[in-house]
Assembly symmetry: C2
Homo-oligomer: 651 residues x 2
């Protein structure tokens, strides 16, 4: 029912199938108040190209129109040809303390009126609920979810994740509810956080929920309808949003913008490009609730499209960080993302297209850079040396910038060279890997970024065995070293780079395994960079120009397979899938039995049978957590199938 | 010809009159290439509501259409009913090294074809020109500007400001050219800076030029057509922009966005709200140069409207700082604005509507906060005390937050209290003035902002005579002080606030002058805050709820007039204007003879005759520099006229 088309970390562009057509996600569901539709549902479909909307079954059930809805069905009643989700009254229970309807009644009603997606009536777990009370909320949520599942019939069910601010309860509730027959998992109880700008708590709630949720199901963030939060929420893996804001704000004379809200009376002129603002002077907009609502909806839909654009071009982190500067409380939340790096990193791709832009000191704490720093510490083996020459942050690529001074230092003085980059320590032979190779930083670096660079660097240098006494940062030292050691051989940059990159990408020891033998390089005429690496006449690796990481060849895969034992680098497939994979067919997630927990989207992987026969070399598109859960989609794209050893009989 | 309607610092919203209608500024002039108009001029008028465009007289003069343009005039030739500016070929001389036309010829041609605004042919002063060469460029520019002025006839003239990167030459050229009969002053030679993202140099060039320019004339920034730079350039006082980018980028398949440029091939989906992106799928846009150009133009026009919106609501600094996070080089430029604070501060209003938002550490360096810190040092007199209790940054208003602990400390322990705010030191009795009273900061303050707070505070505390040994920052100290001094009288907050604010607003000594006598306060029932201050029965001051600054009453004005000598606080008007001002009529700039150089827009001012007779109390809308130059508009809004002393015979 939900298929992921593109992804960037936890964010994804998907298609959700419903009984009334398919829906592109991320998506905003405009709330249609059945008693007071400011923009008729027909217009939402025709003029706003809305594929889905949401209306309230609880309100419909209480309204004088109840019989009409039951007779005609909700689609005909609203005049909407697309998908209709219905809400249950849980929010009304938050506002009014209680509702006079049961979970079973409201599920039954939603079924009867033909909702494509019906929502259970969950208890609203308030942020102030203590652990005991929130645990009871969760228990009741799961009880009702099971009940709803048992009576939903053919209707797709929206199951709720409650648990207040308690991370353990959110995760447990998420795990339990997504194990049921629910089609969409909805994170509930967040409206009070949004209303009081508690975006840090919002992040904690979403991350805790995502840690429990089945990653193959779409996630709805209930009640989040302001464009300010869309980028952040999508970054954390939310797919569906519902907005009553467009209408509610219009009623109060307020205009939504991607960076905030303004009362129309304060807006002398709208800088907005939407069809309403382009066609009407602000006085006309101010006088019309309908125009205000249309403007607000255009802005919300545009913000969602902008998020989709950012996922597709790999710039969602930049968008989130830039948007963080729109409100101090949002900035706090963006800066707090680093608290969740261990989880976020699991979903990070190996690389992204294009350059990484510095937005603020928070950029250095993105999970991709957290990973890089961890891998430089744990996978890269610094060469033995008398000391370490530390070069300051500067234009990229560092090795070109510093080429004239470091060659001899590296060899004759037996000193290793690294850049104290704001992204972390960069041993000079690693400056070609993404994003170190392609990042744009300001000249005047912010104090917080400089301090972080210092901390990152010392953490590595101490672990790498370079005592601080041997850090040389004085630029004079360069000349001194050069004058002391005027001779020396030429540095074999190709060998240094290939060796260091192999360990960083595949794990410490990979370089020795891959490069044992007589190594030769095919070097690009244009760039002077290594393109292919051959060992003993076999092509083992190709170095990609676009991101500086290796593509693994079958010969290289065989060497790694021998050197590393299960499950390292492996994706283990069902025996049924083995012949297909050997023929070069992709690995579908439903055939994955297990995988190396360190595999990340974009990583090279060894596809093996359950008894560890090498069947193919592939590029993973998912991490282990996802491979084990997804029922649809490709888990790894096979680059080359590997035949069974010739000694074995053909199957 | 140019009238300023609204302003915020150097930024202004204005109306420029031309022979073909009036033009709202800031404005973007789309460049129409007469040989290859992607969007016909008629469409620019009808569908984009363009009031003005620019085309190239040099190219027209060389084209096969030369005779047609001469016969029909440029408006009819292009089919454009609005204002037409023509360019001269200066940019072509930059690109091709030279042009085969003289300044006199091209001015003559522009006159003949009926341009509303004709541009002189200035030498293009390249950024790499050394001082001697740039000085020669400037000399030649002024020679040609005079020549152009002498032959322009009725045509409004655009005069150029050249001088490369040399601030002194830019200022001199600006001063000389704006003294001539030019209607628009154009800052030239900046395209190479824009092309190489040298935004810091761009800032320096604009500021140096503005320091010499006549502030009553509109300023064109030649060749700046990317929405990324509009907010910054307008903030620094540019009014007109011209964009060939919309068309050039379309030809290269690139889409402009407020935060950057993307090749359409990389754009899977446009998050843009413009009529083109709303109506067409991206594949259609990608396939059509015309649609790309229309999108680009919509985005540029929208960005200009957004800047106008920000000027009107006082949030342009926020917009500029947020946009700074779109590109590291722009961030460098935004951070560099503080280098120009002495100049920028002159144009800063006393206060703005609404709250001030923290965007980044650069926010603390805005000129309004620079002024506040300077005034706390130079105008505010810290009360004598044994020591200073330093409280950390926190929720506003500080005095309410800390009320429970500081009352007794202030009185019985004879210790003064101040907050080490990220905006600078805030003596507790001053926390009600804008923007200290209304600012929103993150909880997690960035290191650079914390360090700045430390530097600001120490600078003040040392000058105020509090040795560092007496700074108490340990929260335990509060309890200690309280326990040591359990008794004590109640702090007279009203008196403390009124006294401190009067000195801060009007200068050291103002409080004693205004408040000498029996003081009583009218306190608001709602807020508990002082509304009016009466001294010896006379109403001398009103404290504004919206910004915490005083409105001066006539009785207060008389006291300040006696206490301070010329020109302090004065706006000196022509004798002709005296009777009108005494009757309460506003002070027009053309009648201002002189003014206190410390007066800022929004400040209270004493309007006096040349022999220093007090004629009125007024609120300045300009600074001295502006009052002396402007020929149109109000320099100060009179609050109350003051009659001549009763001893004098009525006039």
């Amino acid at each position: 029912m939900f298929e992921i088309r593109e992804r960037d970390g936890l964010a994804r562009i998907g298609r959700m199938e419903t009984a009334h057509g398919s829906v592109s996600t991320p998506v905003l569901l405009p709330v249609v108040n059945p008693n007071r539709p400011i923009i008729p549902a027909k217009d939402l479909a025709d003029r706003f190209r809305a594929e889905i909307l949401i209306t309230n079954a609880y309100i419909l059930g209480k309204s004088p129109d109840r019989e009409a809805v039951l007779r005609d069905g909700v689609h005909r009643f609203l005049g909407f040809p697309g998908a209709v989700m219905t809400d249950s009254g849980a929010f009304q229970s938050h506002v009014y303390g209680d509702v006079d309807v049961t979970n079973a009644e409201v599920i039954g009603f939603q079924k009867e009126i033909g909702a494509d997606l019906g929502t259970m009536l969950d208890p609203f777990s308030e942020p102030f609920h203590d652990h005991a009370r929130a645990a009871a909320d969760v228990e009741e949520t799961i009880r009702r979810a099971k009940e709803a599942d048992s009576i939903r019939g053919e209707m797709a069910l929206v199951g709720a994740v409650q648990g207040g601010l308690h991370a353990d309860l959110r995760e447990q509730c998420a795990r339990d509810v997504s194990a049921l027959g629910v089609s969409v998992c909805a994170i509930g109880g967040v409206v009070p956080l949004l209303e009081s700008y508690r975006f840090r708590d919002l992040v904690r709630v979403i991350v805790a929920s995502k840690q429990g949720l089945d990653p193959s199901k779409p996630v709805h963030l209930f009640g989040a309808g302001h464009p300010l939060v869309f980028p952040l929420a999508v970054l954390l893996g939310c797919d569906l949003f519902d907005s009553a804001s467009y209408a509610k704000y219009a009623r109060d004379g307020r205009m939504l913008f991607p960076e905030g809200t303004r009362h129309v009376a304060e807006v002398r002129e709208s800088g907005c490009l939407c069809p309403v603002c382009v066609a009407h002077p602000i006085q006309e907009i101010a006088a019309s609730e309908r125009l205000l609502a249309e403007h607000n909806l255009h802005v919300c839909f545009g913000a969602i499209r902008d998020v989709r654009r950012a996922i597709a071009d790999g710039s969602l982190w930049e968008l989130v960080e830039r948007r963080g500067r729109a409100h101090p409380a949002l900035l706090d939340a963006v800066k707090d993302l680093r608290q969740h790096n261990e989880f976020l990193e699991e979903f990070e791709p190996l690389s992204r297209p294009g350059a990484m832009y510095y937005v603020g000191p928070e950029t250095a704490h993105r999970p991709i850079l957290h990973r890089l720093r961890q891998r430089v510490i744990h996978r890269y083996a610094a060469p033995p040396a008398k000391g370490l020459l530390v070069l300051p942050e500067g234009d990229r690529p560092y090795s070109e910038r510093y080429a004239s001074v470091v060659e001899r230092v590296l060899t004759t003085a037996n000193v290793h060279v690294a850049v104290k980059s704001i992204w972390g320590p960069v041993p000079l032979e690693l400056d070609h890997v993404w994003p170190l190779s392609q990042s744009i930083v300001p000249e005047g670096i912010e104090l917080e970024a400089l301090e972080a660079a210092e901390v990152f660097f010392r953490e590595w240098a101490a672990g790498a065995g370079y005592p601080f006494g041997l850090l040389w940062e004085d630029p004079r030292t360069l000349d001194e070293l050069r004058s002391r050691a005027p001779g020396g051989r030429t540095v074999d940059w190709h060998a240094l780079r290939v060796h260091a990159t192999a360990d960083l990408q595949f794990g410490r020891g990979a370089a020795n395994a891959l490069l044992g033998g007589t190594v030769s390089y095919i070097v690009s005429q244009n760039t002077g960079k290594v393109r292919n690496v051959r060992v003993d006449g076999e092509h083992v690796l190709s170095l990609r120009a676009e991101d500086g990481w290796f593509t693994l060849k079958a010969a290289g895969a065989r060497r790694l397979w021998k050197a590393f034992s299960m499950p390292k680098l492996r994706v283990v497939v069902d025996p049924d899938a083995v012949p297909f994979v050997r023929e070069g067919k992709n690995v579908f997630a439903k055939f994955v039995r297990d995988a190396d927990p360190e595999i990340r989207p974009g990583d090279e992987a060894l596809v093996v049978s359950p008894d560890n026969e090498l069947c193919a070399v592939a590029q993973a598109t998912m991490n282990r957590r996802e491979m084990l859960v997804f029922k649809r989609g490709v888990a790894a794209r096979v680059r080359e199938g590997v035949s069974p050893p010739s000694s074995a009989p053909p199957r």
